[in-house]
């Protein structure tokens, strides 16, 4: 699985004028790669992810996908910011939803869903409804729902954005563990620099609106990673470099002079 964004542009019609959200975004991502995108609020990160998912159409440019035959199966699974679990389905039915849409028979899909739910330790909540779970649990269900379909491409839109720092840290570890077993291509959107560096092989930095990619940084950390270990000096250096870029963009978007 490999994809390439070629000169992607997206603008939205508002009542008065056209608002440009993305401006000529180009990058490629390869199989087994974990790519993060960081950028200031409203820079079009989510829009970019939805373009890659094919949920919306670009105004100009294209997303080129290359992969084996998948017989009409969606190539990608999307993890949403606010988990997006259906309140009218149990945890198990939510997790099995992707398989259901692929036409997997009920017995098999529930079995596969249950196996995944148990792997993240939520077995006893399988028959609960989402609102009976804590926010952290809900987001884990949202992530598992994507993994169970075994997508070649996994698109994650700030999945930990709504969580407290401790929960966030634990779930980052859990995500890396799950990903280590599947090694799908992941595109991970966040505005947390720390998170982007810890998780990724490569970090793309975006400018403010209209969003475009202003820097690409490879993260020289070994896999598997131990999130509990102290970070090497070069990682601090990388974070500093990303922050300096972002600071300029955030200041510009807030119209704060230097």
């Amino acid at each position: 699985m490999r994809f390439e964004c070629q000169e992607l542009c997206k603008s939205f019609d508002s009542s008065h004028s056209e608002i440009s959200a993305l401006d000529r975004v180009s990058f490629a991502a390869d199989d087994h790669e974990f790519v993060s995108i960081v950028g200031p609020s409203g820079c079009g990160k989510t829009t970019l992810l939805k373009l890659i998912a094919g949920l919306i159409e670009p105004t100009a440019g294209r997303v080129q996908m290359s992969n084996g035959a998948l017989r009409g199966r969606p190539r990608s699974a999307f993890v949403f910011q606010d988990h997006g679990l259906f309140p009218w389905m149990t945890v198990l039915d939510n997790v099995a939803f992707g398989l259901e849409m692929q036409g997997v028979a009920q017995g098999e899909r529930l079995e596969r869903a249950r196996a995944f739910v148990e792997r993240v330790g939520l077995g006893q909540f399988a028959d609960h409804y989402p609102h009976q779970l804590s926010t952290g649990m809900q987001q884990r269900v949202g992530i598992v729902r994507a993994f169970v379909t075994e997508p070649p491409l996994l698109l994650m839109d700030e999945p930990f954005g709504a969580l407290d720092p401790q929960t966030r840290r634990v779930l980052q570890g859990e995500l890396l563990r799950l990903w280590g077993e599947h090694r799908n291509l992941v595109v991970f959107v966040t505005h947390d620099i720390d998170e982007a560096v810890r998780l990724s092989d490569r970090v793309l930095v975006m400018t403010g609106r209209p969003g475009s990619i202003c820097d690409t940084i490879d993260i020289p950390l070994e896999r598997p990673r131990d999130l509990a270990s102290r970070e090497p000096a070069e990682v601090s250096e990388i974070k500093w470099r990303i922050w300096k870029q972002l600071e300029r963009e955030v200041r510009a978007s807030l119209a704060i002079a230097r």
């Binding site: 999307f78 849409m101 409804y129 379909t149």
Partner: protein
């Protein structure tokens, strides 16, 4: 545990039996006033007298017959009008264009008291079963239509995006998102609709026909059997409460997630 302003905990003996005590007290007061002729017993017969009449009507099978006739009419009208409202409501909820096209007409017709159309309906549909059915259907149509449209429109767009991202087509979008997502609104509409259908059926029976709770009430009035008027009124009110109760039970079965949410809120 949360306490109310009386300092009694919910579910305490007082809260459970208090309402029943109020009803029993009111009935006792009525009984006393009527028996001592403090209020005219001709117009306000004692509850015990009314109760005896109800027992009589129950034993000779009149209640079963006429309540059955009325409920069958209500359910037929509810199904017909509610079904049409449901289908049009789903279509209007799904298509903003259709909504824009039809909504002004709904806004115009809906506030018209349907009962005022009864003379017109009698002229068009005669005096058989048809006018009662049409009137009840008309009454059930609007609450279901309006709540279905609102139900579809209030579903957060995220759920459609999630479903589409996993490859859901129109059929699955309907089955797994639109239907369960609008169900709570639909049941609210249904409870309003079945009540309107009952009111309109009774109203039509008061004016035309040989059977039904409304006709019996009117007949009892015409022959000045006041306790029987009260008796039929009580039966009608029980019939309405039963319909509402049954719909509430159906809602619990159809929407287990809503039921659990309500329990949690308590």
């Amino acid at each position: 545990m949360r306490n109310n302003h009386l300092g009694t905990a919910p579910g305490s003996k007082f809260e459970r039996w208090g309402p029943l005590l109020t009803i029993a007290g009111a009935l006792l007061l009525w009984e006393g006033c009527s028996r001592t002729d403090l209020i005219t017993s001709t117009f306000f017969p004692a509850p015990s007298t009314i109760f005896a009449v109800i027992m009589g009507l129950l034993l000779d099978g009149q209640i079963a017959t006429h309540a059955g006739v009325t409920l069958a009419r209500v359910l037929a009208g509810f199904t017909l009008g509610g079904g049409a409202g449901l289908i049009l409501g789903l279509a209007m909820g799904a298509s903003p264009r259709l909504h824009a096209q039809i909504d002004p007409l709904v806004a115009l017709v809906h506030p018209t008291p349907k009962i005022a159309a009864l003379p017109l309906i009698l002229v068009i549909f005669g005096i058989g079963e048809a006018p009662k059915l049409v009137l009840a259907a008309l009454g059930a149509f609007f609450p279901i239509l309006i709540s279905t449209v609102a139900g579809v429109q209030q579903i957060p767009p995220t759920y459609f995006e999630v479903a589409r991202s996993y490859g859901a087509g129109p059929l699955n979008l309907f089955r797994r998102v639109v239907w369960p997502g609008s169900l709570p609104f639909l049941f609210t509409g249904a409870r309003l609709a079945i009540n309107v259908a009952l009111v309109l059926t009774i109203a039509a029976e008061l004016v035309v026909g040989q059977s039904g709770l409304g006709q019996r009430t009117w007949f009892a009035w015409q022959t000045m059997r006041i306790p029987e008027v009260y008796a039929w009124l009580a039966v009608t009110s029980v019939a309405g409460a039963t319909l509402s109760f049954l719909l509430g039970g159906l809602a619990k079965i159809c929407m287990p997630w809503e039921h659990i949410r309500a329990v949690k809120r308590r």
